[in-house]
């Protein structure tokens, strides 16, 4: 029941991302999603969560809920970009695509039964949905920062999938993944800054016309 509620909140944050028109709001939504995933990791474990579970959950929540948004908002400020999202696909079409993607991922999830089947049946669907939304955000948004957000959402989806599939993934693996993502976001933040310094915008659409 509480697991389902958190999963639905994750779905809602994804829909909010699809409909958002301000970059600041999108970054904050991804932050909320990160904290929700931390809660999810705690609740998905049956019985008393061990120390490593606590470490991964709290570490993930802090990293995704506080550090990443802070890094991205700082990059936004220093790159001095406009606050509009500038989508290729408008918010209404994005929302409709999101609902369709949700239907598809629920249908797929029913075809992919879990080996132990102990977890909520929506878990796999939400994981697939997050991955699809992340891919969609990467493809359908112009600004580099939206693509970083799409990457993060996709990673969140994979993380959810991991929670669903693995009873207790090794601490080292989890920490390694988290470190990878951290470095990725860090590098992307710096890259963002340099793109905007070089070209006065972070519009990746314009980058296709570059010549050497």
């Amino acid at each position: 029941m509480t697991l389902d509620t958190i999963l639905i909140l994750v779905v809602l944050t994804n829909l909010r991302l699809l409909g958002a028109s301000r970059i600041g709001a999108s970054v904050r939504t991804v932050a909320v999603q990160g904290i929700l995933l931390g809660l999810l990791a705690l609740l998905a474990h049956h019985g008393e969560p061990s120390v490593s579970v606590w470490l991964v959950a709290v570490g993930g929540a802090v990293l995704k809920g506080v550090v990443f948004p802070w890094l991205l908002l700082r990059a936004l400020r220093s790159a001095d970009v406009e606050r509009e999202v500038e989508p290729f696909v408008g918010p209404i079409a994005s929302l409709l695509a999101g609902v369709a993607a949700l239907g598809v991922s629920l249908w797929l999830a029913q075809r992919l039964p879990l080996p132990d089947g102990a977890h909520s049946s929506v878990l796999v669907a939400v994981a697939l949905f997050s991955i699809l939304v992340g891919l969609f955000l990467i493809v359908a948004r112009k600004k580099a920062i939206s693509q970083v957000l799409g990457f993060l959402v996709m990673e969140n989806g994979i993380y959810t999938f991991g929670v669903a599939l693995v009873r207790e993934s090794p601490l080292l693996v989890e920490l390694g993944v988290m470190l990878d993502v951290f470095v990725a976001v860090f590098v992307m933040g710096i890259a963002l800054f340099h793109i905007s310094r070089e070209f006065d915008h972070i519009d990746t659409h314009e980058l296709t016309t570059l010549k050497d």
């Binding site: 639905i8 829909l15 409909g19 929302l95 409709l96 999101g98 609902v99 949700l102 239907g103 629920l106």
Partner: protein, 303 residues
């Protein structure tokens, strides 16, 4: 049909203008004003009914039929919605479609009456009304479909009687999603704030008000009363389907339902005091968002 199921329509006829009074009082309280009397809508109605009507020579019978058919349609809607666990006087399988249809009929006649005046100004309001309601209706129907799927009943009264505290415990997220979607539909259909500002008479922002500009006297009273009843119907739909108070005593249940109705009115007032009107371009986004919530609820009940 039990005698107690007649209570809701009678209450609707008597108390619906009071909803406006409660909303205005809430807004006045937020703004630190005294506000109009709670019974102001009744005074307006009695004043308008004593006046005569003036009709432009360019209008036809459509213009005169608009307010009457609109009021008649919404009166039919009042006997379809349940309140406080009591079945509605008129309940049959699929009456939720009739509810949407009757509200659509009311809108159709309001819109054609506005177009009949030939004023480009009213045509603009009519166009907006139709655009937004075309987006609000899927949200309403998807939400009701989710409720039908959840309770296993295709009638509004059946859904209402099936609702209990246990349903909230089992399917809380679905119910919360449908509630949110229905609340947005209520705000949009009644031309309340984030969609339309009932206070302004500025041509660029009006939707509902602009369509009633050429009506006067009793016709305007019918439109005002019809709007009050429509607010009542949608609020009763929300309360009747969602409020899980079922004590078994009809009077207690209806009392609780009535309290929740005015809580909805207060909530509308709070929304209006704390939010600005959305840009017209953003309104479809809100309505599609509500539709997405309802669709999510339906998908969750289907799995």
């Amino acid at each position: 049909m039990q005698a107690t199921s007649l209570i809701q329509p009678v209450l609707a006829l008597v108390l619906s203008p009071l909803m406006f009074g409660v909303i205005n009082r809430t807004k006045a309280w937020f703004a630190g004003r005294r506000g109009p009397p709670v019974l102001q809508a009744y005074y307006d109605l009695s004043k308008l009914l004593r006046k005569g009507a003036v009709y432009s020579r360019t209008t036809t019978w459509v213009f005169r039929a608009g307010p009457i058919v609109g009021l008649a349609a919404v009166l039919v809607a009042t006997v379809l919605v349940p309140l406080g666990g009591e079945p509605a006087p008129l309940a049959f399988t699929g009456d939720l479609i009739l509810l949407a249809c009757v509200l659509g009929l009311m809108r159709f006649f309001t819109v054609t009456a506005a177009l009949d005046t030939g004023s480009s100004f009213e045509g603009m309001g009519a166009s907006r009304e139709v655009t937004f309601s075309a987006l609000a209706e899927p949200a309403l129907l998807l939400g009701l479909a989710a409720m039908a799927r959840l309770t296993g009943s295709l009638s509004l009264s059946g859904m209402s009687t099936a609702m209990a505290l246990e349903t909230w415990r089992q399917a809380g997220p679905v119910l919360a999603l449908v509630t949110a979607a229905l609340m947005v539909v209520l705000l949009a259909e009644n031309a309340r704030l984030p969609v339309d500002d009932p206070n302004t008479h500025l041509e660029l922002t009006m939707i509902h008000e602009v369509m009633a500009l050429d009506h006067c006297g009793p016709d305007l009273a019918f439109i005002l009363y019809g709007a009050a009843l429509k607010l009542w119907v949608l609020a009763a739909l929300l309360v009747g389907l969602m409020l899980p108070v079922r004590t078994g005593n009809a009077w207690l249940d209806i009392g609780a339902g009535l309290g929740a109705m005015f809580a909805v009115a207060v909530a509308v007032g709070v929304v209006e005091s704390s939010m600005a009107r959305l840009r017209l371009l953003r309104v479809p986004q809100l309505l599609v968002g509500a539709g997405a919530l309802a669709a999510l609820a339906l998908i969750l009940t289907l799995k």
